[in-house]
Subunit: 492 residues, 2 copies
């Protein structure tokens, strides 16, 4: 089919250019000379402008129209679905608005960083007001009269709706709150690690743990960066990590988390390379992989037993008296301010709060001027602690500054999907804990690759999780897992 | 002027994209995971295709036509000169031919590497025949009935002609040959360095020497790579180096060489950032900077005295009995096979040979099948030694495999320009050696920046050298410098 081949040839080049733009981002966060910031902004802007022109190229519209009603195989149909979706979203937003959003969010990120460093909310609010207004405008262009928030959410999690997510959160909340109350009321209060852990040894160990989890260094690399991230698809999927000599879990578990993201990308069938199917299908499914690697596998009693021995070998001590104390330290529950440091019990409560606040901002029910007060009162209600300063509160996350409204709930979807996958995986691999205790994750990672990762964008997010689990995803397996794990750890 | 502004706005984005493509090349040679080679080829191809489309964009032709006869200031006129030149060259070559050249040279480079590794000339000749034929075809498209070779040369050194270069080589040759014979007949035979030099210490020292020569790490970085190179313009100019524990000069002088290239780029007036004037004006002028940093400054008796002390401090020994022996070791003359390892006396003889051979290939006077024999007989005549194997002979350079015909003479132009600049610099800075002996290059590098580097592409190559030196460049200062330096070193 000549039309399909033309479209895919064009798309392949677009996908390759998108990889280049992504690698430019990696470069900026890892190796770029400090003085290159302004020039880099122009380079990124030029790449974005090329990509935007290709995504809205009228030829794409013509090719899509020419393929209307054609019978395609599953791969062809999925490719068309992704291309049409991208084309529709890109062409609905006026070019001026897209350019203005890029400029304002780029500026806003810098202002947010200053505001956070100085705990100065007032410094951030004017530009955040601009960002919210522009994203509302963009959402209106995308929404066809529907929900503004859902139009944004759909950019990260195709087919998800805020109504479904709100209903899911309503079901999750009582059980999470009850578990939190039992744990916080427990007489057990596990200690954190003690001692210091040499930075280079941490990096060597985390590189090794990355290999243990199946990360392929022939198609990737690990570097240090201020914020851990994974970037790239196909044969060049790089991750970053960071090191704190007082807290080896920071390096180790952020590495395992990013390895989960990276293994998803590395695990996609090579047949999909540089096509719309050659990347993780949604933020939620992506997060399911990082979470299951980090939590259900990495923080399991079995695997922490292996890790305890590894740390003893490498550092001469593991910072805990025995493997059980080490396991308890890895999974310590505490009412912290910071989402990225939250334990598995608290994490989704952080997300629910952000979800409600950002929905209200986008709907217009909450004014940016009232955001800090809303944050602080909600945090105290949910976490039982008053926010002590804005950098521990409303200024902690970069997301809103760069316009990421509708992104936060995908973290919880990831947790929920990880819960479902963990249940199915354990049903298929009864000896999983025996393998993990030996530092052998190949059973688990092979299962995930086989049942989910290889498909890339071939199925929709819910389809692929359903296919892997044999049933539609619900929050129940995650909540059952949390109840069992933390009930046992805290004797509640 | 709206037309000029439109053209320059478009051009600025093109320049930014060219920087991105260049950085992708840097990434490939330094940090790219090995398994990403094939995907990277597609990414590079996509970037090249975007750049080619922009360079031949009909709007550029329209803008240029619209500016015909307009009065512009010097910067505007120079920008138009560069853009017209690039547009004319890009549009004269049929797109199919350009694409075929890209494909064939990409393949040829791999085949050349295999052939060199196995000393198997026959493996390389078929694809080299293809490359020569395609480059001849391209040259014919560019030459408008003129010299094919000059059309290729012009791509690296605007306004240069093979007739001028041949005449210059004819004038240089007798004096170089005479000097070579005197030196090779001398009873002095300086020793090389002895001992080993720790790799990390070499890298630390060469980083420091880079700083000494004014390399700005805020707008650059140094990494290891198989082949040293400099890449990027403006605020992000990176270099690479390599280390051999038995030969610290390899690391040190390749670093100084690349620092010369990089300082040229870093030294260009910021007003020219991301415009056609914001990069070195030609390969020859570029090489003049790397050569003067490396040779006339870096290998001077004064600077090697400083370096001798630095090496004693860092390694506990400098591999030579005293500073004089060290200076003689740095400048040791020997009849080696390899151009990149050649001393200052032999270097241009290597180039003359390649220049004659490649002109004959492009004119059709020499058949690819006869190239090895022609190389070997010419080498023995010029260097007094028979080539022992192809990797030390006709297979040593990558250039022809990637289609770089017309490039080699720019190395000698660089040497000649460096000779002229050195003479003018020393006339202006009588105490230069006193400064260099203290490890202070700021007088010299400041002079070069002020008199040449800052202009980027504002003047033509010959114009900018003439302006810096107060007279048109000739080969005489280089030959005088070589006679004086090596006459003294070898007592001849």
């Amino acid at each position: 089919m000549a039309v399909y081949d033309d479209l895919m040839g064009f798309q392949r080049e677009t996908e390759a250019l998108a990889q280049v733009a992504g690698r430019l981002g990696w470069d900026q966060e890892t190796v770029m000379p400090r003085g290159a910031v302004e020039q880099r902004a122009e380079e990124m802007g030029a790449m974005e402008s090329v990509l935007h022109a290709r995504r809205t190229d009228p030829r794409v519209g013509d090719w899509l129209a020419g393929l209307e009603g054609e019978e395609l195989d599953a791969v062809g149909a999925a490719n068309l679905r992704h291309i049409r979706r991208s084309y529709d979203r890109a062409t609905k937003v006026p070019a001026d608005l897209a350019a203005q959003l890029a400029r304002v969010t780029s500026r806003a990120q810098g202002i947010w960083a200053e505001a956070r460093a100085n705990d100065d909310v007032a410094h951030f609010l004017p530009i955040l007001t601009e960002v919210v207004a522009l994203r509302r405008e963009e959402a209106a262009a995308l929404a066809d009269g529907g929900s503004l928030y859902d139009a944004l959410l759909d950019g990260y999690e195709p087919d998800a709706t805020s109504a479904d997510i709100a209903a899911m959160f309503d079901r999750m909340r009582p059980r999470l709150v009850a578990l939190r109350e039992r744990v916080m009321g427990s007489e057990r209060s596990p200690a954190g690690l003690t001692g210091r852990f040499d930075a280079d040894t941490q990096l060597a160990l985390s590189n090794n743990i990355a290999k243990v989890f199946g990360y392929d260094f022939n198609h990737g690399r690990i570097d240090k960066a201020v914020h851990p991230f994974s970037s790239g698809s196909g044969h060049d999927v790089r991750i970053t990590t960071r090191v704190d000599e007082a807290d080896p879990f920071n390096c180790l578990y952020s590495t395992i988390h990013e390895v989960g993201h990276a293994c998803y990308e590395q695990g996609i069938d090579d047949a999909h390379l540089l096509t719309p199917l050659g990347a993780g299908v949604s933020m939620g499914v992506h997060e399911s992989q990082s979470r299951i690697y980090e939590n259900q596998l990495g923080r399991s009693q079995a695997f922490t037993g292996y890790l305890f021995n590894q740390m003893q070998d490498r550092f001469g001590h593991a910072g805990a008296a025995d493997a059980q104390a080490f396991y308890a330290a890895v999974n310590r529950v505490h009412s912290g301010y910071i989402r990225t440091e939250a334990d598995e019990v608290h994490y989704n409560l952080h997300i629910m709060m952000r979800f409600d606040l950002e929905r209200a901002l986008i709907s217009g029910d909450l004014d940016v001027a009232d955001l800090e007060a809303a944050w602080n009162s909600r945090f105290e209600a949910d976490f039982g602690v008053a926010v002590d300063r804005p950098s521990n509160g409303v200024l902690q996350d970069v997301h809103w500054s760069v316009g990421l409204f509708g992104y936060f709930p995908t973290y919880s979807l990831g947790n929920v999907y990880a819960g479902c996958l963990n249940k199915a995986l354990r049903a298929d691999l009864p000896d999983l804990d025996g393998q993990l205790a030996e530092g052998d994750t190949s059973g688990a990672t092979g299962w995930l690759r086989q049942n989910l990762q290889q498909y890339g964008g071939l199925y929709t997010p819910v389809e692929v999780v359903t296919k892997a689990c044999g049933q539609a995803p619900t929050e129940a397996p995650l909540l059952d897992y949390l109840d069992a794990k933390f009930g046992a750890l805290y004797g509640v």
